[in-house]
Subunit: 441 residues, 4 copies
């Protein structure tokens, strides 16, 4: 939920934001069959049905149960099924086993959503304490996070299907003037002729320099932010430069062709071990098809476009690429300083195109891929998680992950933010994660 | 498919048997939602949707492709999805990943079945070579095997759901005069009062003695049998006695209460390691609920009935129980000798009750549970698998498994047979597997 | 201990056999440093030091503690360290952690051996009950088994060393007239010229036919045998033929060159999965060196001799080879019938050559490699393990293993026996295991 | 090697430092048998023999091979055996398999050390370039690091022995006036009466406040430091307070008794998962013995002394304890600021006592245990690893580890340093790692 919307405030606005968020989840789930919505393709991913139930449980648990005395839970047993990781709330279905729950079925989850929406709408029509409003706004932002997760998870699930099906039979780019999601058959690789011609090569990236010094980092208190973006605090930065755009697929191909995945000296030790163990030789979802590369997208397989920002790379890969390029990753503070004042971006999902757009001559800091930073995900000085179960939202994950900044083609509009801190473990690749270079000056 | 049906022969009969088998699969799948039919709950189990597709692929591959020149496969890519383990046919979806295939969806699998059924019916209306007829009969028996597997797999899947749902909302036993499948909630354990009163205690088992000597074992050539039941051959047996009925749940409770799962000296070394590793303290699907035990069934959880044959025990447990009881498991040859002439049994599924029936004063060798024998699953002397892919049906599994004899409450009527050799690895428990004791005399 | 020795009986003979067995263990350990004797190279293997301690503990526990009131254990804590798998005796060091015990050191284990030997000699000089004598004879045979295990385990350990050192710097074959154990360096492959010229090709194997019928199998009660070789019982065998010699390395090379490790249809399903999982493409200890193969032996690496019996193959490989050869493995009963009356063999270790000897024109059933049979390791009819802890010796391992018959170049003289049943799991390769073909006639 | 020694400079001094370092390694290994020196007790640990060889290889590879044309390597194959992780140098024995190398034996490793020492002494007697001198100083500091690792690894190895032997039979504290290393027997727990009486309870810790602001962090260029301590750079710190002493065992017992290991809300999510997975309920090497706790030390088991600094805790535990105490861990910058000007400490090993000393009223920042900081191990701004293989020394490990500061009872004298950055993964406990609290003011 955007800061602007929050500022406009008022019941009407909050109700509207609530409804929009809830509707978008349903819109994203709609192209998916009950089968698609139920299966869990790896321990890190969750079924779409679970995302739909969990976001509903969040409102039920943190808003309705605490603030609506007359509220009757849809089914008390759902607390076990749809709790994600809130130990204070009680026991829960183990994460790797979320895909075993075939009942309640998709239809009943829809009924659960309707039940909670109805109670929420009644609550929202009343005059609410600021604390309750704040919790609802948190719930909306929480649901937006799960919208992106839902898309990440569906993409992974469909990629596991040897038929390589498309999420939705809509052209990935309507400007191409033709359907790109032909009946795809992974066993008979995609017909290259039918694909959109790759974008022209881009001019090389430029470097934008900053003097550094003492800068203020973190949420300034205006509008919504997650607790991990606060408190705003002072950081000392040496001078640095940051790239004018993210690294592209074309540049990544050069890295591969220069032996990027075969030269131990480019890699962190853990990263090199991972490359060997998992036999990585390209970003996730890439596959080698003569004469070039194809990528699996939510629209099915397509030819690689060298002008697109590279996506689905791990921290290890981003770090190795930067070393290869004679540069480094930015710290999250450098990134934030460089992003101040830039228009925040997100996908309004008015077209169901969910893939990074090729870069133009200019590119904002928010350019369709999350950008790995060199910063470990740590609490800001004087960070205090909220009291109670909601305090488990962010704080307990602050170890052995790295911060990503920006936002991606799968981030809902209104959800990206200059001070936003996304985070994933170093080997994760199923997020829409790319990188932008930095260097010392 | 029963020998009798086969003997009656003729097109009409074969068509009828084919249709019955195909319809039963659909009948068994019918109570299940698309969600239920798609998920795979462990590597050993398969999704119901996959069973429906695989049995169809079997007819398509081994009957239609070889014998109907005009036949056009429904979708060539399904050969990859629905091949189980026939290396000669080509590559296939890895077994532990069958549950990742959300598309084709349930509806399309139904269309696939209809397409193949239609072609099969056309073929069956023609005059067929004996070899083709034999392959169709094999396909029918193959489908019957998958009907039992389907039920095993669904039971396992539903048992993984913390809501402990019932496969079908039908009384497990209509004779009880009341619905036993109340809305079940595992988190709020089953209401004992609503359960059927347990059967009365049985009189103790009797021993039936045999003199042994040279006996003929294996299929006598009349009617259908799998290749692993042949050739008929001579075996020398010492005198022995076999129990008049399978071991009951009540007897198993005594074993537990006597420390059966805690005394290393009762167990094979591998079995004891498995008990420790998996923390087994009762048969699969049992749970301790004061004051007794409840069991999860396809009708949901219910109170343990001591007169029922114990079910869902591994070879290791069966062997340990026999040692505890001062007896042993029969060899498969002893079992077969004892079963000669007894009426073969199976579940006609005219009521959708799929749980072992409490034992009466008399009990046949076919008593609702498969019975572990001490015989390793090995080829009979002079066994030759068929030429070609179909030779992979049985032979390649003849190592590190034990033979079970009889048939279970989930075995379709007409599928059980005196010389039938079922087989599972020593630690498997999800089959409807029990035991019958034997001893030297 | 041989039957003959046992028959001669008397104190003097038993004391002599005891001393010989104890001395041979020390002789086999002598070429090994404290470092060599302490490390455990895999969970299935044990350190040499442990073998020395365990065989000592066996006499202490099963003979001295029960029969010598004045006996004072060397160190009570050793019962924990050196118990192998006797649950009835008490808790023990977990098998995979035997290599963590650096103290007691090798010297103290020698002192432990001396302490027990001394007490045993005193006991042996007295008049002993037959039961005590039988237990001592069991202990001697137990020690002989561990002598072979010790050699298997040392071979595995040394093979893990990239320097590929030899167990002992003695020519493998003195007939070659020159030292074959040059300072070996795996990183600089063995100098082929220095190797012994391979033996000439053998004439093809012959088939020896048997009529079968009712035969008596198992120990006849004369001399020592393990409990698993009894009771002697009757088995019905169809006619069969058995090969005149084991399969050779040269024949195995043909199997490899004919795609033996690449053709799924030659393998049991489990075997094929193992081949893929472990990337097997040759027997254990073979490595491809242009233009041929070299093998790692206890004398270091050497060129492959095609006339040697193939060794260090698993059951899966033996079974696949037999299928490829259009034959099968013999049952253990067939093997025993064919071996009756042949001179039993073993290695007197008068020269420290421990590698299969190339086959000549004639070859006995005991030909330097254990021979896999198709028989699962099961109890003979009416088998009863002994009462008490000693009953754990054999019986509890009778599942998921296959019987090997014969004896190997690492089997001590006097230990091989026509009715001897060795056994290993299907994937084991570190025993000196080969195969001999059989077929139906 | 201390900065002071380095500053005094000159050949004589460098030769002396070299000899001291080399001798100390031998002194630390001396109480250990060949058996003790060869075994590897876990993948993270290395055999003592390997440490002795690897530190020797370091001088051979990075000093002698590059600077002594006449130098002839002791054995070229040792490059494979004793390379730790330098990919640029070539292939190497996999880390988890270092314990499989029984040959070369301990004696030959001693000969290898003598060979290299001899060549080094000849080199050191010549006039050396500053670059060569710097490399030798690095080699000395490298050897000192391995001296501490050697002690960590030996402690772990001996702790795996059920006999719980002592590293050396010397009183842990001579002030106790009696031998504390009685023949220890873990199976018969240590006799509490024989133990040293625990120290008196300490006065509670005090807080020392700092104003923060812009501070300079990192090595100031005087004397030796590892590359990861540079460049010196500016950091902005908010005001904070740091504890006057590390957390004690007595305080840790309170944490345990207050349910510290049972309350999910005290833990990072990964930490809680680790606690459950590994069943942690106390620091490593603690065991519960009525009425209190005993700890395994290099002197064998002893009664827990509440006044000792707690040792062998993971980052997860340190973090959870701090949360429980209403405090937090310091950042590495806060720690360094607080340590400036304090006398650096280390163990001169003049007595072979290697266990944290109970805390007195006063305690320096260097107090016998490494202290976890909240700082992830990251490169300092503008960090550049050295060119060539030596650049792999530190840089490639800068991910998913946390920095520890200070030094421990196992850190050689002259090796500790205010700006020293030690680092371990979050779940590691075998280092001598404790913690010191901090808080916001």
């Amino acid at each position: 939920m955007s800061a602007a919307a929050w500022e406009r405030g008022g019941h009407a606005s909050l109700m509207l934001e609530f409804e929009r968020a809830r509707e978008l989840t349903e819109k994203l789930a709609e192209p998916l069959s009950p089968e698609d919505q139920t299966v869990q393709s790896m321990a890190d991913a969750s079924p779409v049905k679970w995302h739909r139930g969990h976001t509903t449980w969040f409102f039920e648990t943190f808003v309705l149960m605490d603030n609506d005395r007359g509220y009757k839970p849809y089914d008390k047993r759902f607390a076990y099924l749809f709790n994600s990781y809130y130990d204070s709330i009680g026991p829960r279905q183990p994460r790797p086993s979320r895909g075993l729950i075939t009942r309640p079925d998709v239809e009943e989850v829809a009924a659960y959503r309707a039940h909670v929406d109805c109670a929420m709408q009644a609550l929202l029509s009343r005059c609410l304490d600021p604390e309750v409003q704040a919790m609802i706004i948190l719930g909306i932002n929480h649901e937006q996070q799960h919208q992106e997760l839902l898309l990440m998870d569906v993409k992974h699930l469909l990629s596991c299907n040897p038929l390589q099906p498309a999420y939705i039979d809509t052209p990935l780019s309507e400007s191409s003037g033709e359907a790109r999601c032909r009946p795809c058959n992974p066993l008979q690789p995609a017909d290259a002729e039918a694909s959109q011609p790759p974008s022209k090569e881009l001019p090389p990236q430029a470097w934008i320099s900053y003097e550094g010094g003492l800068v203020d980092i973190g949420h300034d208190g205006i509008g919504f932010a997650f607790d991990n973006e606060s408190p705003r605090h002072r950081v000392f930065l040496p001078p640095f430069a940051i790239a004018s755009r993210p690294v592209t697929c074309g540049e990544w191909v050069q890295f591969i062709e220069d032996g990027g995945y075969e030269r131990a000296n480019l890699w962190l030790s853990e990263g090199w071990a991972t490359v060997q163990d998992k036999s990585w030789d390209a970003p996730m979802y890439w596959s080698h098809t003569e004469p070039g590369w194809s990528v699996f997208t939510l629209g099915g397989p397509k030819e690689l476009d060298p002008a697109e920002p590279v996506c689905h790379v791990s921290y290890y890969e981003a770090d190795a690429f930067a070393r290869w390029a004679g540069a480094r990753l930015p710290t999250e503070f450098e990134w934030e300083l460089a992003a101040v004042g830039q228009p925040e971006k997100g996908n309004p999902f008015d077209r169901m195109e969910i893939h990074p757009v090729p870069l133009g001559a200019q590119s904002s800091m928010f350019a369709d891929v999350w950008q790995w930073t060199s910063s470990s995900y740590s609490p800001y000085p004087r960070f205090r998680p909220a009291e109670g179960a909601i305090g488990e939202y962010n704080g307990k994950f602050m170890v052995n992950q790295h911060v990503l900044r920006g936002g991606s083609c799968a981030t809902p509009a209104g959800h990206a933010r200059t001070c936003y801190r996304n985070f994933f473990p170093s080997a994760s690749r199923w997020a829409f994660s790319g990188l932008r270079l930095a260097k010392d000056v």
